[in-house]
Symmetry: C2
Subunit: 335 residues, 2 copies
Amino acid sequence: MSEITKVALDAMGGDHAPGEIVKGAVEAVQKRKDIEVFLVGQEELIQKELSQYAYDENQIKIINATEVIETAEPPVMAIRKKKDSSMVVAMKMVKNGEADAFVSAGNSGAVLVGGQLIVGRIKGIDRPPLAPLIPTAKGVSLLIDCGANVDARSSHLVQFAKMGSIYMEHVMGIKNPRVAIVNIGAEEEKGNALVKETFPLLKACKDINFIGSIEAREIPHGMADVIVCEAFVGNVILKLYEGVGAVLIQKIKKGMLSTLRSKIGALLVKPALKETLKSFDASEYGGAPLLGLNGLVVKTHGSSKAGEVSNSIIQCVTFKEQKINDKIRECIKED
Amino acid sequence: MSEITKVALDAMGGDHAPGEIVKGAVEAVQKRKDIEVFLVGQEELIQKELSQYAYDENQIKIINATEVIETAEPPVMAIRKKKDSSMVVAMKMVKNGEADAFVSAGNSGAVLVGGQLIVGRIKGIDRPPLAPLIPTAKGVSLLIDCGANVDARSSHLVQFAKMGSIYMEHVMGIKNPRVAIVNIGAEEEKGNALVKETFPLLKACKDINFIGSIEAREIPHGMADVIVCEAFVGNVILKLYEGVGAVLIQKIKKGMLSTLRSKIGALLVKPALKETLKSFDASEYGGAPLLGLNGLVVKTHGSSKAGEVSNSIIQCVTFKEQKINDKIRECIKED
C-alpha cells in the first residue's frame, strides 16, 4: 500500500472559508484513500461545517487554532504576532514533520513569508518562487516566479528554471520539459539587463532543456512548459491572463445577446462553450506551489471553492510520491 | 480652411507592402481633403499599385527611394547604411519640415532608431516612448512605453506619464485622463525598486491626474486611460494581450464546432460575434505614436492592411491640429 500524504489545510483562509475549504477537504478524502487532512482553525466553526458530510473519520482531523490572519493584514507582522493563527499552526506542523504539505487560500503575502520563516528554505535555495500553472492552447505551462520577491538576480532565475523543470517532469508528467525565459524578442541579444545576464547561464545549464527566449505572445500558445521570469513580470503575466480572459468572455456574452438571431444561437452554443472556457480557467488546475522549501506549501486562489481546494490537496500526493524536494536538493547541491 | 497635414508614408514596410500601404494612402485621401500623402519607396512598384485607383492627384505624391530596410535587419546598421531607403528618406522629410508625420509598418527597431537619430528628440525628452492604444471593456487605453529601450529610470516614467496624458486628452479627447502605474498590488509600498521610486514622483506631479497603481488584471477592464510602465513590462503586456485574445478566440471557435447543436448556434451568433471581436482587436485603433520627437512618428502593425494604414494616417491630423508637440515642449520645459 502506498504511503499516506498528510496535508495541513488552512480552514480559515480565503473568500469562502471555512465552508468551501472544509467541503474541499471532504471531497479530497472521498476521492483518495491515501490522504489525511488536518483542518486547522477555529474548532467549533470547522466542526459545524464538517458535521454536514459523511467521510472516513480517520482521514480528517481538526487542529484548533484560535486566531485568523486576514487578507489585508501586513504579512510579516501577521506571521510574527499571530502565533495561534491557522496559518502559523499549520505551517509549524509541516516544519515539525507532522504534515507533508500546507495548503491555503488565505493572505498570499503571509503564505510566502510564513513559508520562508516557518517552513524554511532548502539549503542552497536563495529565493523560493511561487509557480502557478497557467492554461494554454496545448494544456498547461508553469509560470515561475509570480511571488512577492521582485527584482531577482540571474542566479535566482537559474534556480527557478531547475525547480520548474523538476516539477513539470515529475508532478505533471511532461518528459524533458521545454524551458524558456520571457523576453521582448527571440534573439539572444535582446532583453533587459537581467535577461541578457541570465540567458547564457540557462544556455549553459545541463539540467534543463532550455529552448531560449519566449515572447509573451507565444505563452498562451503553449510554446514552452516552464516559463522563467522575474516575479514582477510573472505577476503581470498571471494577472493579465485573468483580466483579458474575463473581459473577452464578458464581451462575447454581451455580443451574443445583441440580436434575436444571436440570442437563439447563444442557447445552442452554450453547453459546448462552457466546456471550452472551463479548459482555459486557471482555477481548474489547483494551487500554485511555493518551491524550494523544506516541505510543500501550496497557495490556492483566494476565491477558491471546494473543487479547487480538493485539487490542491490531491496535487500534494504526487509531490510527495515523486520526492520532488529530494530531487531539488540533489539538483541544487550539484552546483 | 484647415491646414493640410503632410504624411510621409513608408510604402515599402510591412508584410503587405507596397499593395496594402498604397491602398491605405488612397483610402485616407478619399476620406479627408486635408491630408497630403508622400508615398516613399521604389517608384515603379508604387506607381503600378497606385494606377489601380481613382484619387485626387494633388493629395498623393510619390517620392522615389531605391533601398528597402527588411524586417529582420539590425536596426542601427540599417538606418546608418541605407541612406536611400524609404524609411531614411521619409524620416528626413519630417526632419526638414517637408512632412509633419512619418508612418511605417516596417522594421520596428529601425523606426525607433530612425526616430531618435534622424527626426530627433524634443529638447528635455530623454527617451521617446512607443505608446500603442489597447482595447478595453470601456474603449481604449494608452500603454506607454512598449518600445525597445528597456530598463528605464523613474524620471523617464514621469515624462511618459505627462506625454501620455497630453496625447489622450488632446488626440483621443478624454478629459483629465486617469494615469496609473503598472504594479503588483494596489498599495503604495508594493512594487519593484523602479515603481517604488516612481510612485511618489507621479503623485507629486501636478500636470497629470495620477490615480495610483494598476494591477495587470484591471488593465483590460479600462480602469485607467494612461498605463505607465517600463518598456520590458509594456512589451509583455502588449504581446500577451494579443496572445491570450488569439488563443481564446481560437478555442471558442473550436468549441462552437464541437457538436451539431453548437454548429447551428455558431451560424446564428457569427455576425454579432464578429462585431464584438472587432472592438477588441488592437489593429482597429491605428498605429502607435513614438512620442517626444520633433515631428510625429507612427508605427503600425507589421501585418497592417489598408484599413489600419488609413487610420494611422488620419490619426496624424489631430496630432498636428492639436499641436501636441508644442504642448509636450511646454510641459517638459516647466520642470
